[in-house]
Amino acid sequence: MHWIQSEGRVYYDASNRPIRMLGAIVDITRQKNAEEELKRFKFMADNASDIFILMCESSSLAYLNKEALEQWGYNEEESLNLKMRDIDVLYNKKAFDDTFALAQKQTIPPFETVYKRKDGSAYPVEINMAGLVLAEKPYLFAVVRDITESKRALEEQAKTNQRLEIALEAGRLGSYELELATGLMSCTPQCKANYGVASNESFNFADLLAVILPTYRDYVQERVEKAINEHSVYSAEYQVKWPDGSVHWINASGKASYDENDKAVLIVGVTIDVTDQKLLQQQKDEFIGIASHELKTPVTSIKAYAQVLERILAKKGDTQEAAMISKMDAQLNRLTSLIADLLDVTKINSGRLQFNYTSFDFNQLIAEVVEDLQRTTQKHTLMEDMQETGQVYADKERISQVLVNLITNAIKYSPHTKNIIIHTRLVNDEVMVSVEDFGIGISKEKHKRYLSNFTV
């Protein structure tokens, strides 16, 4: 299909009769298409929510869409006389000409500049430009985006980052990003410093694994995998060897982010050198360990003296005195178990608590403990409600300690009631023990503190 423009002229004879017509026929399909193109373009541009402008080679504005007129405060008539220097605060002729020429040949990457409105107010914009030929004339087409908000957001983010950096630095926290697919890491200088690595050296996951002491490597990988699988926060403490040979404790944590298929792609987190804290903790544990060990020696001899004194007095018939010494001996036993508890806490904290496993009948152990503790109280009746549990393989001494703690607690906190019931059940091949008293109970707020140190 073609558009034809036909022009002609009719020639007349003397009596004014048309005798012939001379004319020309021109194929104007291209012009027609260009007009259509321009119409379509204006329609689209006028309905867009961004600013669209069309510039001529002379830098005057051929067209501004409605959005542009509205935002800049011009009417259509005024817009016809606008030149780019009226709009672009940073306008310079040479740059414009170069860009115009270049845009006819290739795409121009987006750039930022500052535009001004009719009232003179200026604001930052991002410009996307392309060369365009309409009705056989070259134009520069531009989409103008107001970036005031995103600039402010960026500045805000930069400020936030700066604050974060200060916080990280003050806490000597190193932060890292680990790309899981490649094992590439981006680390802050402090993060590298925590591993004894200079800030200009590269430090990726493979390098990290290499400096972790071999005993912790599997542990670290397991912790990372567990956190990824459970979508939880990863946290681990491990030892690393710095290039200078010194060994440091690192506390690391992080959290994974996932793609749309729920595949973990990135771990972001922080690390901190906790060597000093660890050392102090170790010194504290050692101190308590040595102190309680040293305390045992005098207690041993006091206890020996007390017992021999008791015997001598008993032999002499001084029963009252002997009974007093016996009470003293009982107090010494309390002191001994306090020292032992102190030592146990240290051992638990440092992971050095040893267990001596044997097989024994669980219910029989309970019966023994109940028999011992029944002797310590006249007010209470310890009752057994036990189902056959069979043999367990455990540290008898330690289990007995736990039972004693539970039952003595029950006695201590139910001063006005009589019965304490010890239940045992076999549940899925495990023994379940419960000690039931009818005393004041434990308040709800304290429930979550059950398992922390020194909680009664």
């Binding site: 060990h293 045992k296 020696t297 207690v299 041993t300 020996a304 003296y305 017992q307 021999v308 015997r311």
Partner: protein
């Protein structure tokens, strides 16, 4: 015989054993025990930590010597965790500090009866 580097313990245990009718000698020095050539005791109470000496080394040495391997040894320590290593060193019995006199006397009686 008692070997312990704490004079208080040595003294108290001596009194007890004396009171129970045993003849007791003692030392706070590990070397004395290894220097014994004759007049061996019927039984040895040995502390695991003797200043400068590890009681377990002394125990191991005594159990290797022909002249002394027959002497029953009860090792005493403030740490329960080294009970196993005491037996590995050849000890006949083990007692954790602080101990009940009755436990000590029972162990002594039992070992003396066996020998």
């Amino acid at each position: 015989m008692i070997g312990d580097d704490d004079p208080g313990i040595v003294d108290a245990v001596e009194i007890i054993l004396d009171f129970e009718g045993y003849q007791v000698s003692s030392t706070v020095n590990g070397a004395t025990i290894l220097d014994m050539q004759s007049e061996f005791p019927d039984l040895l109470l040995l502390d695991i930590w003797m200043s400068g000496f590890d009681g377990r080394d002394i125990c191991r040495e005594l159990k290797q010597r022909k002249t002394t391997q027959g002497i029953p040894i009860i090792m005493i320590s403030a740490s329960r965790d080294i009970e196993r290593s005491a037996y590995e060193a050849g000890a006949d019995d083990f007692l954790a500090k602080p101990f009940e006199i009755n436990d000590l006397l029972d162990k002594i009686k039992k070992l003396l009866k066996e020998n």
